[in-house]
Symmetry: C2
Subunit: 147 residues, 2 copies
Amino acid sequence: MDLFTDEYFMNEAMKMAKIAFEENEIPVGAVIVCRNKVIARAYNQTEKLTDATAHAEMLAITSAANSLGSKYLNECKLYVTLEPCVMCAGASFWSQLGEIHYAASDPNRGFARLSETVIHPKTKVKAGLMAAEAKQLLDDFFKKLRN
Amino acid sequence: MDLFTDEYFMNEAMKMAKIAFEENEIPVGAVIVCRNKVIARAYNQTEKLTDATAHAEMLAITSAANSLGSKYLNECKLYVTLEPCVMCAGASFWSQLGEIHYAASDPNRGFARLSETVIHPKTKVKAGLMAAEAKQLLDDFFKKLRN
């Protein structure tokens, strides 16, 4: 896989999702990239942290802001394996993320079912990269949970 | 002021907002109450923490979950001096907050301008308590910022 492509970075997010899977968390992973460098990696930790707000994107945004020493992430790209919910989309608005790339869609809780004004007008959104793989991991997780 | 009334708890949230004001943060304060006990107090700290996600409500929800050892806050009430944004409303959804009481409305970034499905169907929302005082504090803050 070529370095520094969208596929490369989404695959890094998938690695995070797989760690979540192993730790019995809903498998969603995220990385934030600034000038071709991964500055934050996170996966959903709502169970481990006993915190409903500990979505992969929230943890990644806070970590990236710490890394840069800036609460604005307008030169950064978020790669996340599932369409952000409105909480995480709202966080991307406040941090003015430059780009959001998400893999699988989330018709139930994804932000896209609501008004597009949830996202900052300067944030570019791209969907669908590695969507099948990300969805498969989620399906496998919920299958494991039921058994 | 009588103890354990909505006014009492909203006043506790106002005290938090006033601390934010003194620390040059946008003055929004929040408390979370469980069985008439304040289990979390927080104010907006986006500047101090260099984190766009560090809204009063987010910090209060995480703190309340830590306090209870539960990511669900369905027996809790959030009192916040400004209408929550979609990020914070989304956080209230995931934590299944029992009640949200907010003071001032936020026509620009408040959740209410969007679909009501941002909020959990079991969460009761009440608005307007101490709204004038909360708005005055915000107006004073932005006036101070401009001078």
